[in-house]
């Protein structure tokens, strides 16, 4: 499938992205690709190192079967290109001439060292928007430091607030540090694009993953600055201010659910009242909880006294119901309660099914069809963004790009291949 006939139909159809990122930046180009851009993943010969990240399709550890790669490379095309060779750099420069965006996630200074930093690329194409996604941004005291996921989630302030209070701080069991930065890269790219579209002036967008994580901490930094409170991790509870904690995760008969016992506006007090009324109906009501003035409580303003007395009755109640019963009742009665979903729960979720979220992409090379997580945004008629290409094989589009588009001869391409440039 090409962008051919429908070229102007998707939001970003007119634009081309050169995506030089590895593991740490793939999501950025994926976001632009889903919005319709023509994203060309530029891989080193032999394929991106991100193809080595598991899990793998049918547990076959193979660079064309990495589910990490599939997740963040779908909708892209792939060419191979060796930046360490003069021929490779020359090809990249030729591609930069007609590109709108270039995204990279090399260590700071690497591209400059190849004369492919922003100054070098700007000279070739002044309209180019270049996005660099690095752990800490391109300069500063930590800029050259190593930051795999857990180091970044620690320095970003996330881990201190997550996990049980009697054990070490925790990360999520799937890397998120670079994903936050990569998604931010897409936002920054589009802000720079807006300026370029109007003025014709390109620029460099320099993303810090550490800052991206620090922005996920809700009001915790402000709590320190305004109230002098260092919020702590409290396991299944969440500390919302100095003297207020709320419980979020609860066991039930056959698993876990998430219900936040609190009051305040935005329907939260109403949700709490509804749950308490349901408990009354089943003769499991609690006088103390019923007497709390939920309507007057602010968001996250549940004093620890309420939590101390309120947790036990709720635990007793939830223990008498299955996850399915609780979830069904929460929809019917409009209670703020969701299951702690497993991956299978997500695949089976009725709302996702009703919205046709999961989308099938055919993998002819495997003679199979795979169910992919779908679009992160839709328009009313689902026409202006799309999931349209399975993730590319290594260098799958070399011919399309190098021969058909740049006009290299078969002889030249063969030389480039044999010399290790592509």
């Amino acid at each position: 499938m090409s962008n051919g006939d429908g070229a102007q139909e998707l939001l970003l159809s007119p634009y081309r992205v050169l995506d030089l990122t590895g593991q740490g930046g793939l999501l950025c180009g994926k976001i632009l690709a889903d919005l319709g851009a023509d994203v060309i993943q530029v891989e080193p010969p032999g394929g991106s190192a991100a193809r080595n990240i598991g899990p793998f399709y049918q547990d076959d550890v193979h660079p064309e079967k990495s589910l990490f790669w599939w997740s963040y490379a779908a909708n892209k095309r792939s060419i191979t290109l060796n930046l360490e060779t003069a021929d490779g750099r020359d090809l990249l420069k030729r591609l930069v001439k007609s590109a709108h965006f270039l995204i990279e996630s090399f260590p700071p200074g690497y591209m400059d060292g190849l004369s492919l930093g922003y100054t070098g690329l700007e000279a070739i194409n002044p309209e180019l928007v270049m996005v660099s996604i690095t752990p800490f941004g391109s300069d500063g005291p930590y800029a050259r430091w190593k930051a795999p996921d857990i180091v970044g989630m620690a320095l970003g302030g996330f881990m201190y607030l997550t996990g049980d209070s009697d054990r070490p701080p925790l990360r999520v069991s799937i890397p998120h540090f670079h994903l936050h930065g990569a998604a931010a890269g897409a936002a920054g790219a589009m802000i720079a694009h807006t300026h370029r579209a109007i003025t014709g002036e390109g620029q460099h967008v320099d993303v810090s993953c550490q800052q991206a994580v620090a922005k996920t901490l809700a009001h915790a930094p402000q709590s320190w600055d305004l109230e002098g409170v260092i919020l702590k991790r409290m396991g299944v509870f969440r500390q919302t201010s100095g003297d207020s904690i709320i419980r979020t995760c609860w066991p039930c008969k056959d698993g876990y659910i998430n219900y936040v016992l609190q009051g305040g506006s935005s329907g939260v007090a109403a949700s709490t009242r509804t749950l308490l009324a349901w408990m009354d109906e089943e003769d499991m009501g609690d006088e103390f909880l019923n007497d709390v003035n939920w309507e007057e409580l602010g968001y996250g303003q549940v004093r620890s006294e309420i939590m101390e007395k309120g947790v036990a009755p709720l635990i007793r109640f939830f223990a008498t119901h299955t996850r399915q019963e609780l979830v069904a009742a929460s929809v019917e009665r409009r209670i703020l309660l969701f299951p702690v979903a497993t991956q299978q729960d997500i695949l089976d979720h009725p709302q996702l099914k009703a919205r046709d979220y999961f989308q099938q992409l055919h993998h002819p090379e495997l003679d199979t069809t795979v169910n992919y997580p779908g679009l992160f945004v839709k328009d009313r008629h689902g026409e202006r963004m799309s999931l349209r290409r399975r993730p590319p094989l290594i260098g799958e589009h070399n011919r399309e790009i190098y021969q058909d588009e740049l006009g290299l001869t078969l002889e030249q391409v063969t030389i480039l291949k044999e010399s290790g440039a592509i």
Partner: protein, 406 residues
């Protein structure tokens, strides 16, 4: 000085709580004119949420609200008033973009669904985001980030394998959405500019957040495997964890992905009881994986009496990936965040100076900036309606006298 990149974009912003206001904060930071509509009778949730300056609550004193709403104009409209629709449509004819994150159906109930807006302004872009998206059996299910993180599968993969799952901190999915949202909104405005056509964007916070666990969903979909919580373990690194340091609740994260990193760490630790056999076993990643608990213990014994900041620098200088587990006080002193000017202090009439997070990207030619504090409730009602939207004095008085402006 260069103009800000989003100058000229006019946003009528009905967003509230976290995900929406974080999205429009980016737009306002980079120069869009954002008029935020609030209710005076039912002030939005975050206006009543801690932290408050000096712990004293008040409708204009929440640091939570203030941090998400700098650079915006604040107006109040009584949306239940008979003339509210008339006023809002007037604002719609001014705007390029309308944003909202109410429960689906709310705007329609006010007669302000996308078709209503388009009748006034055919090229209008509307951005709607909700927990579970529009349509489907659960579109009206109430929720917010802390509970949605669980439906998005993130709670299930956060925690220790021998304990109950825990939530990733805060309203986590609220903070995943905004970057996708900004990219989508600006793509739609680009389409508007090129084609003169409008568009209604519909973002389900659940569907967006699933991109943060996509490899595990695919694993379940194609291999039938359920992935669970693994503490701080990582399949591609050992050792890999958070280790105690000197002081109360002080920790350092250390991860060795390569043999070189491990050898450098081992050299620094120089364990006295380290025999040839163990050395041999730990020389490969596969080997280290089999003795990971022993390694954790050895490293913790070594880190526990050390200052986390000094240790981090020592380890990084030796090429070992390491980072202090920053608490929220540390963030304000972190040399890198300070270098990047992560927190910008704004002077608020009731709160005084307070910090808001600047964007995590720097634009080399047209930087953004946070310039004005979050609005007091209704602070700009008169200014925005008259000076920005262009209501005449008589029109403004008529809405005011009728009680539309609360």
């Amino acid at each position: 000085m260069n103009k800000k990149p989003l100058e000229g974009i006019k946003v009528l912003d009905f967003c509230w709580v976290a995900v929406g206001p974080m999205t429009t904060r980016y737009l306002a930071e980079y120069g869009a004119t954002v008029i935020r509509v609030e209710s005076g009778k039912r002030p939005e949730t975050l206006r009543r949420a801690a932290p408050f300056k000096d712990g004293i609550s008040g409708i204009n004193r929440s640091g939570y609200f203030a941090s998400y709403n700098p650079n915006k104009y604040g107006i109040t409209i009584d949306m239940s008033h008979a003339r509210a629709k008339e006023l809002v449509l007037r604002l719609v004819s001014w705007a390029n973009l309308v944003t909202e994150n109410f429960t689906p159906g709310t705007m329609e109930r006010w007669g302000l669904g996308y078709e209503d807006l388009q009748a006034i302004n055919p090229a209008i872009v509307m951005y709607s985001t909700s927990m579970l998206g529009r349509g489907g059996p659960m579109e009206r299910q109430p929720g917010f980030g802390p509970v949605l993180s669980s439906l998005a599968g993130l709670t299930h993969i956060t925690g220790w394998p021998d304990r109950d799952p825990v939530n990733p901190y805060g309203a986590y999915t609220d903070f995943i959405g905004p970057r996708f949202a900004v990219a989508s909104i600006l793509a739609a405005l680009d389409y508007q500019r090129r084609t003169g056509k409008g568009l209604h964007l519909d973002m389900s916070q659940l569907e967006t957040s699933l991109h943060f666990t996509a490899p595990f969903i695919l694993d379940c979909s194609v291999n039938g495997r359920e992935q669970g919580r693994k503490g701080n373990r990582d399949p591609g690194a050992a050792p890999h964890g958070a280790y105690p340091c000197r002081g109360e609740d002080r920790w350092i994260a250390i991860a060795c992905q390569t043999d070189q990193e491990w050898q450098a760490l081992l050299e620094l630790i120089s364990p006295v009881d380290w025999d040839e056999d163990r050395s041999q076993q730990a020389s490969t990643l596969v080997g280290r994986k089999t003795v990971e608990e022993d390694l954790d213990k050895m490293i913790a014994d070594w880190t526990v009496d050390q200052d986390p900041q000094e240790l981090m620098r020592t380890l990084q200088d030796a090429g070992v990936p390491a980072g202090v587990v920053n608490d929220c006080r540390d963030l304000f002193q972190d040399p890198q965040l300070t270098h990047r000017e992560h927190f910008k202090y704004l002077d608020h009439a009731e709160i005084g100076p307070y910090p808001s997070d600047q964007s995590e990207f720097d634009l080399s030619k047209t930087p953004g900036s946070l310039d004005t504090p979050a609005p007091l409730l209704g602070e700009h009602t008169e200014y925005a309606l008259k000076e920005l939207v262009g209501l005449s004095e008589d029109e403004y008085r008529s809405f005011e006298d009728d009680g539309v402006l609360e």
